[in-house]
Subunit: 234 residues, 2 copies
């Protein structure tokens, strides 16, 4: 077979917007770019799509290379393809966003990428159009988490209702009534109460909960209305 003549080929990359939650703030994992152009600047973790590699595969590989993690929640965000977004050479980037349990992330032994977590309220200047990607990812996270049980992906297997609420409040930068919040969350039927309590952050201690995996997968795409009026999100 021949090829399509007279058409431009271009580089294709993936970039990962990696979210984590430290118990207080929503965080973003960034690296220091290791090659030119923009070497040494803050950047999303990314890489070029290889000849025999699917897009999702490239994203998984890229995430794993930085975090060492597998089986992480990840979804395609969008393709970014402005002609001059990479001044060196035309490069299309397919952005993915990932939600990880921040406790599972260990600084890789060889800290090859000089990665750091940044609070989303304090993101440094990023290369290319990475800031756009981050904003779009944050908007998407807010949108989806308002109606789907998504934020659990940011928590460890065992968590308390107050911890969950702090997470929601961090994501939406808003306060919620704790009575209504717990009622709403428990009414989904997704949570299984544990006998053990979390005793570090309060005198009385709060019961741990786990996700009911079966119901979780069943209801993941259902409309669950976690946040009343998420306002004008996208």
């Amino acid at each position: 077979m021949t090829r399509y003549s007279r058409q431009t080929r271009m580089l294709v990359a993936v970039d990962c917007i990696i979210f984590g939650f430290d118990g207080q703030d929503l965080k973003l994992l960034l690296i220091k770019r290791g090659f030119d152009p923009e070497k040494g600047k803050w950047s999303l973790m990314g890489g070029f799509v290889q000849p025999e590699e699917a897009l999702d595969g490239a994203a998984v590989r890229t995430l794993n290379k930085l975090t060492g993690l597998d089986g992480v929640y990840m979804e395609q965000l969008a393709a970014f393809g402005t002609p001059q977004r990479d001044p060196m050479e035309r490069t299309l980037s397919v952005a993915y966003f990932a939600l990880i349990d921040i406790n599972l992330y260990k600084q890789q032994l060889t800290d090859e990428y000089k990665a750091e977590w940044f609070s989303l309220r304090d993101i440094p200047k990023l290369i290319f159009d990475h800031a756009d990607m981050v904003h779009e990812a944050q908007a998407r996270l807010r949108y989806k988490a308002a109606i789907h049980p998504l934020l659990f992906e940011l928590l460890p297997p065992k968590f308390t209702i107050p911890q969950l609420q702090i997470l929601f409040e961090a994501v939406y930068d808003a306060g919620f009534d704790k009575r209504n919040f717990s009622r709403k969350v428990l009414s989904t039927g997704l949570l299984v109460k544990q006998k053990e309590k979390e005793r570090a952050s309060s005198k009385r201690g709060a019961f741990y909960y786990k996700l009911d995996k079966r119901k979780y997968s069943a209801k993941f795409h259902a409309f669950l209305n976690f946040v009343s009026d998420p306002g004008n999100l996208r």
Copy 2:
């Protein structure tokens, strides 16, 4: 400046999933592919992204080339990049879906593409992974239209409530109670009642409505809940 050496470049295309509504069924606009491979087979309208062109620009250009239309509602669906999706040469495709008022579509004078409208329940075999794209677009349409005032883009400027209901029933392949439906739609405050009636499809005639453009743009991203339980959509 130099280039990124030792990386694979690939072709980048856009493909358009174009929806229309003929008053009864939801339809899809397809063309007969004009070049090899798969010449003569049914296909989505698409084209390669040009050297100085943005992705959105390529999508707009491609849609316009087929329909002659501008200012059409269009959004990026996803990037499809399986290595072998085009057997000729590795090609990444960014899919866009568009909603057009089918009345505005005139068969272009030179019917260069041999385009035809197909009912979504009766789509012919498509080339490459275009069937996947269509399914994903349909799922996205159902998802978004359940909570945002999206389907108005498929209707002419003046329409009746019964027409709107038929459209919703076509999209969701379900029946809705007309009393609850009209109450729900009118309660959004997006519709302006006209004095004129549509008299073709009933004895009594149904009043025309128009969109309140101001409120429409304001509430486009709000959560409006047009469909009660859209089931397990994506």
